[in-house]
C-alpha cells in the first residue's frame, strides 16, 4: 500500500468534493479496492470512505425495490423486503463470494467496479434497473460500458439502485471454484419455466453465455 490521505465525510457533498480535483478514490466495502491497494496496483492521493454517509437501506417505492449503494450483500440476502419483492435478488446476494465478503461488500461497490464475473451487474441489466448517482439517473445499458468501465465520472457516486419488480426472475451462476465469482452467470426475468431448478435451459444458458464477450447481456 502506498500512503494516502483518508477522509470519512458525513455529507454527500463533502464526499464528492473530496473526490473531485486530485486522484481520490471512493471506498465502500473494500473487498475489491483494499486488495488493489495492498498490491500497489493503485496509488490514490486520497481515499474517501463512504461508510459515514448513511447510504444503506432497502425500501419499496411504488413498483420498485430501492437499494441504497452502501447496502451489503448480506443485508440484501437476508432482507424480508427483498425476499418478497425479488427473491432471486436475495438468492444472488446470498451466493456472492463467501460470508466475509458478503458482510463487507456492497451493491454500489460491485456496480461501480463492474467486474465481468460479478453477479449484480447482470441483475441490474436483466431487470432493467436504474442507477441513481450524485449527478443523474442512468439505465443499465448507459451505465455499463465494458469490462471494469462505467459511465461514472471521477467525482460521481452511486447513491441507490432502483429495480422494477418483475413477475418472475431467477439467477443462476456457475461459480469459479477458487474465487466463487461467476464463471458464467445468467439472469432471466418474466420467464415461467425456471423453477424447479432442474430446468433444461440452464445448460443452454451457460453454453450460450460461455461464448459471449465478458460483459452482462440480456438473452
Amino acid at each position: 500500500m502506498y500512503d494516502f490521505e483518508y477522509h470519512k465525510p458525513t455529507a454527500l457533498a463533502d464526499a464528492t468534493k473530496a473526490l473531485g480535483g486530485t486522484d481520490a478514490k471512493a471506498l465502500a466495502g473494500g473487498m475489491t479496492f483494499i486488495p488493489v491497494l495492498k498490491q500497489r496496483l493503485a496509488q490514490p492521493s486520497a481515499v474517501v470512505d463512504l461508510s459515514g454517509l448513511g447510504l444503506t437501506g432497502i425500501s419499496l417505492e411504488g413498483n420498485s425495490l430501492v437499494i441504497k449503494a452502501m447496502t451489503t450483500h448480506r443485508e440484501v440476502a437476508t432482507s424480508p423486503v427483498v425476499a418478497k419483492a425479488i427473491p432471486a435478488l436475495a438468492h444472488l446476494a446470498g451466493h456472492i463470494g463467501d460470508r466475509q465478503v458478503r458482510y463487507r461488500g456492497t451493491i454500489g461497490g460491485s456496480l461501480a467496479n463492474n467486474d465481468p464475473s460479478a453477479c449484480y451487474p447482470s441483475a441490474v441489466l436483466a431487470l432493467g434497473a436504474t442507477i441513481k448517482t450524485t449527478k443523474r439517473s442512468l439505465k443499465a445499458d448507459e451505465f455499463f460500458q465494458g469490462m471494469f468501465t462505467t459511465a461514472l465520472e471521477p467525482d460521481e457516486l452511486i447513491t441507490e439502485i432502483s429495480f422494477p419488480i418483475p413477475a418472475k426472475a431467477a439467477y443462476e451462476k456457475f461459480p469459479n471454484p477458487a474465487s466463487r465469482y461467476a464463471t458464467v452467470g445468467g439472469r432471466r426475468r418474466h420467464v415461467q419455466t425456471l423453477h424447479p431448478p432442474r430446468h433444461p435451459q440452464r445448460h443452454q444458458l451457460i453454453a450460450r453465455l460461455a461464448g459471449q464477450p465478458p460483459q452482462p447481456l440480456i438473452l
Binding site: D3, P177, A178, S179
Partner: protein, 796 residues
C-alpha cells in the same frame, strides 16, 4: 504394550499446543520482533528468463529509511556461496546430475518469475518496498520454457547452459532386459499416459526469517519457518555463509504448516543472516501470500507413460514406466530424490509384480523450483499405479477388486523384497481392503448408482490400495543413494530433580501435535503423568542435533530415539534403585513408574529415583554419575511401510460436469497408534489435500513463464464445503524393526486419496468411454467429455 492409561499410548488427550494456537498466543516467526530490527524486501524478477544488464541502486539508496541495498555482486564479493542441493542423483551412464549453482541473489541471469535480484533493507517494510520500486534494473529477456513439454522440445531455450536439452539427470532403476522379456510373454498390456499436476503448497503461515548477528560474540542467529532447523544450520553454515555450527543458532519457533515446503533451505534465510552481519542490526523478512506463490517450492509436476504386462489370469508380469519430472529453475534441497528414490522405488506398490523398470528424466524449466510436497514421490507413484491397475482391470474385463486381490503381496510373503530395491517389513493388504470395503458399503454401491441415475446423476466408486515408505533410512543406504546427510534422529530426555521431564527432540512440529504425542509416549513409558512432560523442539541451541520432520518420520524415527533415551534412563534408574533398596540391579523391574525388587513389595517411585540422582547423598557414586539426563541417536534399520485402502464415491452432475464427493473412506495401516484423535486428524488433513489435488488444484504457467494461478482467487485450495465427512479407520500391523512398531501417518491421506477420487470419477463416466482423466478433474474437463469435446490440457 500396557493397557491404555490416561494420557498414555492409545489415549486421545486434547492437544496441549492447541490452547496457545487457538487463543492467538502462538509465537510464530513474524510475531517476533528484535530490538533495533530492520526490514528486508526482495526485488524479484518479473520475467521468467533474462540477462541482467544493469542494476542501478542509486536513487533507491537515497530514499527515506533505506539502510542498505545488496545485489548478487555484493554477495559474490563476500564469497557467499549458493544454496546447496542435499541429494545427488547419478544418470544411467554414471555421470552425476547437472547441478547448477543456485545463488542467493541472481548472478548475471534470472531464471524464473520470483528469482531474487536485490535485497532492500530499510527501517520499515513500506520504505523497503518503496525503495525496491525505485531500483532501475535492465533485463534483456530471453525465451522461457515454462512446461516440461516446452523444455524438452528440440531447440528449446536452455535454463542453464551446461544442462543440455534442459536435462538435469537421466536415471533408471530395475532390470530392463527382464522387463522387455516379460512383455513378450504378455497376454495383454495396460497403458496409461498421465500428468501429475503441479501443486502450490500454501501453508497457512507464509515463510518468514529474522537474521541477527552479535558483534561481541561473533554469533549468528536465524529465526525461520522451518521443518528442520538443524538441517538449515548445516546447509547454510557450511555451504553458504561459511559459519561454523557453534557460531550459528537456528530457531524454528511455532510454525503454521509446512507440507514439505518448509523443509528446504531458501535464499531468504541466508540473505537476512548474512545482511545482519553487514549492517549490525537484525533483519526481518516476512513473505506475502502472492510472493509465496512464486517462491515456495512447488510440488509434483511429473509426466509419465506406463505399461503393465498382464498374464491371462490377471497376474501382473512386468511394469515399465517412463517419467519426466520438472525440477523448476534450480535444484531445491531434496528435489532430485523425489521422482527417483522416493517414487520409483515404490512401483511395486502392494503387488507381486516380479520385474519393474523405470526411467526418469529430470528437467529444468523457467519456473519456481519443485521439491517434496506432502507425500513427496509416493503420491505420484501411487496415482500412476492405482490408475494403471484400474485400466488393467478394464483391459482384462476383470473386476477392480479381484485384480487387486490376485496381485496382492500375501501376508505370509513378508518380509518382502521388491524388484525396485525396497524390502517391505510388514503389511496386510487384505485386511485394510476388506475393512475399507465394509465401512464404505462397497457391495451396496450398485443400488446407490441406480438411485442416482434415477435422479439424473452419474455416480461412481473408486478405490486405491497403496503402500508407501516413510522415515528414509538407514543413513548408510540413504547416503549410497545420494543423500548428503544422515537420516537418524536424536532425543534428549532430561528428568528433573522432582521427576518432571523435558524431552528435547530433533524433529519439529508444525501442526502435527508432537507436544502431545511425544508427551504421551514418555508418560506411558516412564509412568509419569502426561502433564509433567514438556516437549521442546525447534532450536539448535537447545537440542543436541536432529534431522527434522518430513517423510512421516517423527514418531517412527524421532519417537524411537526417545525410547532409546528412556531405556538409558531406566537402566540408570535401576542401578540407583538397586543401591537404595540394597538389591542387585539385575533384580530390579521397572513398571508403571515404579522400580521394584523382583518378587518383593519393595519399590521406589520414579520421582524418588530422580531426586536421588540429583541429591546423591545415598548414592552408588562409584558406579554411576549423578543426574538423570540421557541422549540417544537412533538410526533406523529400514524405511517403514504404511499402507491401506481408500475408497471414494462421487456423483457427477452431467449438466455442468461438477463432481460432488458423496463418501470418502480411508483405512490405513500405520502400525502403532499413540493418539488416535491426532492420527485421524492427520488422515483428514492428508485426504483433504489429496482431494484438492484430484479435483481442484493446478499451477498454471503461460508460455512466457508467468504464473497464471498466482493467488488464492485463481488457485483453488480445498475448503470445508468441497469435502464430505470422512470415515477413517486404522489397522495396525506393527513395523518390525523399530521399538515402537510405528510406521507414520503424516502423508498417507495425500498419497492414497487422489487415485481413489479419479478412479471414482472415471467409473462414473464409464458410459462415455473414458479410461483416464488427468487431475484436477474439473467441471470443465468433465463437461467436455460428456459433450464429446476433447478436454483441454490445462497444464499446457
Amino acid at each position: 504394550m500396557n493397557d491404555i492409561i490416561k494420557g498414555g499410548i492409545g489415549d486421545s488427550p486434547k492437544r496441549t499446543e492447541d490452547h496457545r494456537f487457538l487463543s492467538g498466543n502462538g509465537r510464530y516467526t513474524d510475531d517476533l520482533n528484535r530490538p533495533n530490527q530492520t526490514h528486508a524486501y526482495f526485488k524479484r524478477s518479473d520475467v521468467a528468463h533474462g540477462v541482467i544488464k544493469s542494476i542501478d541502486t542509486k536513487a533507491a539508496a537515497a530514499m527515506d529509511g533505506v539502510i542498505a541495498i545488496f545485489t548478487g555482486a555484493d554477495l559474490a564479493a563476500d564469497n557467499i556461496g549458493g544454496v546447496p542441493c542435499g541429494w545427488q542423483v547419478h544418470s544411467k551412464d554414471g555421470s552425476p546430475m547437472v547441478e547448477p549453482p543456485h545463488p542467493v541473489l541472481a548472478q548475471g541471469k534470472v531464471r524464473y518469475v520470483g528469482d531474487a535480484i536485490a535485497m532492500v533493507i530499510a527501517e520499515t517494510k513500506q520504505q523497503a518496498k518503496d525503495a525496491a520500486e525505485a531500483l532501475v534494473i535492465d533485463i534483456e529477456t530471453l525465451p522461457a520454457v515454462s512446461t516440461l513439454r516446452a523444455a524438452i522440445a528440440p531447440g528449446a531455450s536452455l535454463v542453464h547452459d551446461d544442462a543440455k536439452g534442459n536435462v538435469c539427470y537421466d536415471w533408471h532403476l530395475g532390470d530392463k532386459e527382464a522387463v522387455d522379456a516379460a512383455f513378450k510373454q504378455a497376454f495383454k498390456v495396460a497403458t496409461i499416459d498421465l500428468t501429475n499436476n503441479r501443486l502450490i503448497p500454501n501453508p497457512m503461515e507464509p515463510r518468514a526469517a529474522i537474521g541477527e548477528y552479535d558483534i561481541s560474540s561473533g554469533e549468528y542467529t536465524l529465526h525461520t519457518t522451518s521443518q528442520n532447523p538443524h538441517v538449515i544450520r548445516l546447509l547454510m553454515g557450511a555451504f553458504v555463509l561459511h559459519v561454523p555450527e557453534h557460531k550459528l543458532r537456528v530457531v524454528a519457533p511455532d510454525v503454521g504448516g509446512g507440507f514439505g515446503a518448509k523443509i528446504f533451505h531458501y535464499i531468504e534465510e541466508a540473505a537476512v543472516t548474512w545482511a545482519a552481519s553487514k549492517i549490525h542490526r537484525p533483519v526481518k523478512w516476512t513473505c506475502e501470500r502472492g510472493e509465496a506463490f512464486i517462491t515456495d517450492a512447488h510440488g509434483r509436476d511429473h509426466v509419465s507413460h506406463a505399461e503393465l504386462a498382464l498374464a491371462q489370469d490377471g497376474k501382473f508380469l512386468a511394469l515399465r514406466v517412463n517419467t519426466y519430472a520438472n525440477m523448476g529453475a534450480y535444484l531445491s534441497t531434496f528435489a532430485p530424490s523425489v521422482p527417483t528414490y522416493l517414487s520409483a522405488t515404490l512401483l511395486a506398490g502392494v503387488y507381486t509384480t516380479p520385474v519393474i523398470y523405470s526411467e526418469v528424466k529430470a528437467i529444468f524449466t523457467n519456473t519456481v523450483p519443485v521439491d517434496a510436497y506432502r507425500g513427496a514421490g509416493r503420491p505420484e507413484t501411487t496415482f500412476l499405479l492405482e490408475r494403471l491397475v484400474d485400466i488393467a482391470a478394464h483391459t482384462m474385463g476383470m473386476d477392480r477388486v479381484a485384480i487387486r486381490r490376485r496381485n496382492f503381496i500375501p501376508i505370509d510373503a513378508y518380509p518382502y523384497q521388491t524388484p525396485v530395491a525396497l524390502m517391505y517389513d510388514s503389511g496386510n493388504h487384505e485386511a485394510t481392503l476388506a475393512r475399507c470395503m465394509e465401512l464404505a458399503d462397497w457391495s451396496g454401491f450398485e443400488a446407490r448408482r441406480a438411485k442416482a441415475k434415477a435422479r439424473g446423476k452419474l455416480r461412481g466408486i473408486g478405490m486405491s490400495t497403496y503402500l508407501e515408505a516413510c522415515g528414509i533410512a538407514p543413513s548408510a543406504v540413504a547416503g549410497a543413494l545420494g543423500a548428503r546427510a544422515g537420516l537418524y534422529e536424536v532425543a534428549n530426555v532430561r528428568v528433573h530433580p522432582t521427576g518432571s521431564i523435558t524431552v528435547f527432540t530433533g524433529t519439529h512440529s508444525h501442526g502435527q501435535g508432537h507436544e502431545t504425542t511425544f508427551a504421551q509416549l514418555v508418560a506411558d513409558q516412564l509412568g509419569v503423568p502426561f502433564e509433567s512432560v514438556e516437549v521442546v523442539h525447534g532450536d539448535t541451541a537447545k537440542i543436541p542435533f536432529g534431522m527434522g520432520t518430513y517423510g512421516s518420520r517423527s514418531l517412527s524415527v524421532g519417537g524411537s530415539a526417545m525410547v532409546k533415551a528412556m531405556d538409558k534412563i531406566i537402566a540408570k534408574g535401576k542401578k540407583i534403585a538397586a543401591h537404595l533398596m540394597e538389591a542387585s540391579a539385575d533384580d530390579i523391574e521397572f513398571k508403571d513408574g515404579k522400580f521394584t525388587v523382583a518378587g518383593t513389595d519393595k519399590s521406589k517411585a520414579f520421582g524418588e529415583i530422580a531426586f536421588s540422582a540429583y541429591v546423591p547423598h545415598n548414592y552408588p557414586i562409584d558406579e554411576v554419575e549423578p543426574g538423570l539426563d540421557e541422549t540417544a541417536f537412533y538410526d533406523p534399520k529400514n524405511f517403514t511401510f504404511p499402507g491401506g485402502c481408500h475408497i471414494c464415491e462421487v456423483e457427477i452432475d452431467p449438466e455442468t460436469g461438477t463432481v460432488h464427493l458423496e463418501n470418502f473412506t480411508a483405512v490405513d495401516d500405520i502400525g502403532r497408534v499413540i493418539n488416535p484423535m491426532i492420527v485421524h486428524g492427520q488422515v483428514h488433513g492428508g485426504v483433504a489435500q489429496g482431494i484438492g489435488q484430484a479435483l481442484l488444484e493446478q499451477a498454471v504457467y503461460d508460455p512466457e513463464g508467468q504464473l497464471l494461478s498466482g493467488s488464492l482467487m485463481d488457485y483453488t485450495m480445498p475448503r470445508a464445503d468441497n469435502l464430505p465427512s470422512f470415515v477413517v479407520g486404522t489397522e495396525s500391523t506393527m513395523c518390525t524393526h523399530n521399538p515402537l512398531g510405528a510406521k507414520g501417518v503424516g502423508e498417507v491421506g495425500a498419497i492414497g486419496s487422489p487415485p481413489a477420487v479419479i478412479n471414482a470419477v472415471v467409473d462414473a463416466l464409464r458410459d462415455y468411454g473414458v479410461t483416464h482423466i488427468d487431475m484436477p478433474a474439473t467441471a470443465q474437463k468433465i463437461w467436455s467429455i460428456i459433450n464429446h469435446a476433447a478436454p483441454r490440457m490445462a497444464a499446457e
